[in-house]
């Protein structure tokens, strides 16, 4: 049995588990059993992705779908990499859900869709013709939409589900048209036929790329198509949020890479420009919006948007280098993008798991009502802190490695010949640097307000540590983050065949470099060794602690906080999330949103309390979506009149339609 057949059987089994869950879920406590099955199947799929095999891609055709065409499946190095990412995330999410799912009040609304969602994502990665790709894509969208609507009693969740549905349909429509263009008038819908066909005219590949960017970008969360993401990802149960944010956005990235680097053929240099521009805007807007959120899961969703932007900037760089025939820099940027895909799937899942644990323990997602959780939930706090360090791109954890590789790729770009790129790449570089710094601030705020300080509510004070299954899942993820940060050379070598296949070059093999450091180009240029840095920090920290013990006293006394002599026992005197973000909002916020402060200060003698409020409006909503919404409503109002015509009026309409269609047919070349 080849890995591909094993994978297809497992996907079929996942669909079967979904059906089984639909039958069992009403009966009683089936959730542990179902999640166990999902976890095992994901592990099998993960195994199918990582077992060593020849560079030749495996293909299979199933007699499903359109008659005489069938459904084509293919497992090559790129789909294997993404398959590993998806199923690692899926397996750990299932492990987490064994504990987390026990708190679910209505398991029958989640259990059937969870395996279906996993199966949908896997099918997208394996699909080898446009038809099965789109069906799998839509299946993934709809099953995740059902999960978003799991708690549909909340009006906000219903709205999130509705907007998600609209944006997902729009994305699929764009992809449908992109594949229509790619297949051409002859209609070879299998990917191998598309690969061989050439899109001769100049505008055709550009249009196909734009449509793919719209389709995959709306699923990945590129600005301005991101608006559904911070609504829908938090609305789902936390283990599904982790899958949607950590994994499903990566499936969207896969879809884009598949089209832009594989199906479209040799790139032109200007293809990279929309990627760099939109990616850079996405990173900065995403992280600025995340910094002002007080809903923990919404904050994480906005941070996902930022990371997707980083990935797209790296992909843009890879396209630019590839178009100019610079194989090594292209491979570096491509490797960095895929490494960031992997890293982000790890720490974002961990962060959502932590948010879910907090939600279970306190019933709160609002960080303004949390605080002091490091005392009541010490293990969750430690694991969440680790993920915060990783996502803030701080050494020695894994987030830093991929950002470092992207910076190295940016530093190679002055040799790009095109002037437009020479100006665009530094701008994208400054956006990346800005977002990295803001990200650290954002997660200082998230962790500091939610976990540190004093509890701001009774529920936060009485929180209890989460269950062992969830802790096991989170610990596993943190261990992977640490490993990926300390020994990135193995990961880079794993990505290397994909880079060779899709950008025609590869970074030097990292596995046999002494001391296990990474040297992307040449040692005289740059090198980084996470393991040594980690050992050095540990050594220095322990040495200093030891010397301090030797020189000084051990004495320690507990007392009330100093606070300049005026400690206030009330927890409301602490800095809140919004007060923490206020300086950043004032210094940088006006690029992303319009914030208005409302201050109601009563005159002297009046005893009513002063009130302060902040109104924040998203510019994207105001300038992009509100006009669209208004024009749709206007159009609907106008068309509504046609509901009340006479029979003569309708006959005239039919006649006009017939004549115009005939005219089109007559004129069409």
């Amino acid at each position: 049995m080849t890995p591909l057949t094993a994978a297809l059987w497992s996907i079929g089994a996942l669909l079967g588990v979904g059906g089984l869950a639909a039958a069992l879920a009403r009966g009683g406590d089936a959730s542990r059993f179902i999640y166990c099955l999902c976890g095992v199947l994901c592990l099998i799929l993960f195994g199918a992705a990582v077992v060593p095999r020849t560079a030749v891609a495996l293909t299979a055709t199933l007699p499903l779908g359109l008659p005489w065409i069938g459904a084509h499946f293919r497992l090559d190095v790129l789909s294997a990499f993404f398959l590993a990412v998806v199923n690692l995330g899926g397996a750990i999410a299932s492990l987490y859900a064994i504990g987390y799912g026990a708190h679910e009040k209505h398991p029958s609304r989640i259990l059937p869709f969870f395996p279906a969602f996993l199966a949908g994502m896997n099918l997208v990665l394996l699909a080898d013709d446009a038809f099965s790709f789109l069906v799998a894509w839509e299946f993934m969208s709809l099953s995740s939409c059902a999960l978003v609507l799991a708690h549909h009693h909340d009006a906000e969740n219903r709205r999130a589900g509705f907007i998600y549905l609209i944006m997902a349909s729009f994305g699929t429509l764009a992809l449908l048209m992109a594949f229509g263009l790619l297949a051409g008038s002859v209609g070879g819908y299998s990917f191998s036929a598309i690969r061989e066909a050439t899109l001769g005219e100049y505008w055709k590949p550009g249009l196909a790329l734009a449509l793919t960017l719209l389709g995959a970008g709306s699923k990945a969360g590129l600005v301005p198509l991101h608006i559904w993401l911070p609504l829908a990802h938090p609305a789902a149960p936390s283990h599904v949020s982790a899958l949607m944010s950590g994994v499903m956005t990566k499936v969207a990235v896969y879809g884009f890479v598949r089209v832009a680097f594989d199906l479209l053929g040799p790139p032109a240099f200007w293809w990279s420009m929309p990627l760099l521009t939109i990616g850079a805007i996405t990173t900065v807007l995403g992280i600025l919006s995340a910094t002002i959120q007080s809903d923990l899961k919404k904050l994480l969703a906005y941070s996902t948007i930022e990371n997707v932007g980083i990935i797209f900037v790296a992909l843009g760089l890879a396209l630019a280098f590839k178009a100019n025939g610079m194989a090594l820099p292209a491979a570096l940027a491509f490797t960095a993008a895929l490494l960031h895909v992997f890293n982000h799937s790890l720490f974002k899942s961990l962060l959502f798991f932590g948010a879910g644990a907090v939600l279970n323990a306190t019933g709160e997602r609002d960080i303004e009502r949390l605080g002091g959780l490091i005392h009541s939930m010490p293990r969750t706090a430690f694991l969440f802190l680790g993920a915060c360090v990783a996502i803030s791109a701080l050494p020695p954890l894994n987030g830093f490695v991929s950002e470092w590789l992207i910076f190295q790729a940016v530093l190679l770009s002055p040799s790009l010949p095109q002037w437009s790129l020479k100006l665009l790449v530094p701008a994208a570089g400054v956006a990346l640097a800005l977002s990295a710094a803001l990200c650290a601030g954002c997660f200082v705020r998230a962790f500091g307000v939610a976990f540190l300080g004093r509890p701001r509510s009774i529920t936060a004070k009485n929180a209890r540590e989460t269950d062992l299954w969830s802790l096991a899942a989170m610990s596993g993820l943190l261990a992977l983050c640490l490993l990926a940060g300390l020994l990135p050379s193995y990961l880079i070598d794993t990505i290397s065949p994909a880079a060779r296949a899709f950008v025609g070059g590869h970074v030097p093999t990292q596995g046999d470099i002494p001391w296990m450091s990474i040297v992307p180009i040449a040692e005289s240029r740059s090198s980084y060794n996470g393991l040594l840095v980690f050992i050095f920090i540990l050594f220095s920290a322990f040495l200093s602690a030891w010397i301090v013990r030797l020189l000084g006293t051990h004495a320690l006394r507990r007392g009330p906080a100093w606070d300049c002599g005026y400690p206030d026992p009330s927890p409301v005197t602490q800095y809140t999330g919004s007060s923490f973000a206020e300086p950043i909002r004032r210094a940088l916020g006006h690029v992303a949103f319009v914030a208005r402060d409302h201050l109601d200060m009563p005159p002297p003698g009046d005893t009513r309390p002063a009130r302060f409020g902040v109104e924040i409006r998203d510019r994207v909503w105001d300038y992009v979506y509100s006009p669209i919404q208004m024009s749709v409503e206007f159009g609907a109002d106008q068309l509504n009149k046609t509901h009340f015509l006479t029979i003569q009026g309708y006959l005239t309409l039919v006649f006009i339609a017939l004549v115009s269609l005939l005219l089109v047919v007559a004129i069409w070349p």
Partner: protein
């Protein structure tokens, strides 16, 4: 044998930065006092302060967590590693290649991350104000630093400090972008170390304070470790400016003991000149309002970006 020698040299660098950091602080304080016509404390006073703090008992707030107690050592460890990776008396040390300039910047980011968290741990308003403002400054200072790193790396074709210093020595030339990077780096260094005009290291209770507000709840040995880390961070920025912009005297890889001694002497002279200039600058300006600081740092960011753009446009600018 050669490996042991290299190991010893690397260890000497670690001890050198640790030992010189309080002296630099004492020297700057002394010069500032002299320029203000005060006598000022001895330049060894910071060592005595540190020793005194270590011998005092720690008074810990009732609700301080394990993070509060371990943060000083994490901050110290990260800062010490970063400071030992920047060449002081010689380049090409044993572990210099384990992290480049971007990694050094990020290590300082790690230290700041934990310092800001420690400020929020006890849940006082002063800690929060310090962390919040530090975060705002960092969100502009860090990209500015990365842009300056880009300028230097594009000129020298490397992000490794050893290579940068060697290249700067071999190609002494005046460049517009290098000048922009120097100004930007000085601005970032002033802001990152909380010197006037961004923050005042001499005061303890002032409404615009940043660094002192974050460490307000610390006492005893914890405070000593944090103060030492802050001193090392200042030393690190001095070493960085010295290594990139005045690399003369640096002992090359594999140099003998004499060259290294000469390098160390040159390094001390560079520190003295730099410390004097910083003291002179500090007494001749006033502190700025906290919401003016983003403009000040924004200038550094723009200088870095301008330098990078110039180098993208032409290799010779």
């Amino acid at each position: 044998m050669a490996m042991i020698f290299e190991f010893v040299v690397q260890g000497a660098q670690m001890i050198l930065v640790l030992a010189l950091a309080p002296l630099l602080i004492g020297f700057i304080r002394k010069v500032k006092a002299q320029l203000l016509r005060r006598r000022g404390p001895s330049i060894f006073q910071p060592y005595r302060d540190l020793l005194r703090l270590m011998r005092k008992e720690v008074v810990l707030a009732d609700n301080a967590s394990w993070l509060f107690r371990s943060a000083p050592y994490i901050i110290f460890g990260a800062t010490w590693v970063a400071a030992s990776l920047v060449p002081t008396f010689g380049t090409g040390l044993m572990f210099n290649w384990s992290a480049d300039l971007i990694a050094v910047t990020a290590l300082l980011g790690s230290a700041r991350f934990f310092l800001a968290l420690a400020g929020m741990d006890v849940g006082t308003s002063f800690g929060g104000i310090g962390s919040s403002r530090e975060t705002m400054f960092a969100s502009i200072a860090e990209p500015a630093m990365i842009m300056i790193v880009f300028v230097v790396a594009l000129i020298d074709g490397s992000t490794q400090l050893t290579e940068i210093a060697a290249h700067m020595l071999a190609h002494v030339e005046l460049r517009v972008s290098l000048g922009l990077a120097l100004i930007g780096l000085v601005i970032v260094a002033i802001a990152e170390n909380g010197r006037i005009p961004v923050d005042n290291p001499a005061t303890h209770l002032e409404l615009t304070m940043v660094h002192e507000a974050m460490v307000l709840e610390y006492s005893g040995r914890h405070l000593a470790v944090i103060e030492l880390a802050a001193a090392m961070k200042l030393l690190l920025y001095f070493s960085l400016v010295a290594c990139i912009f005045v690399p003369w005297g640096l002992a090359p890889h594999g140099a003998d003991f004499g060259a290294m001694t000469f390098g160390a002497a040159a390094y001390v002279i560079k520190l003295a000149v730099g410390g004097f200039l910083l003291a002179l600058f500090e007494i001749s300006t006033a502190k700025m309002r906290v919401f003016r600081v983003p403009d000040f740092l924004g200038a550094a960011l723009m200088l870095g970006l301008l330098g990078t753009l110039l180098l993208f446009v032409s290799r010779s600018l």
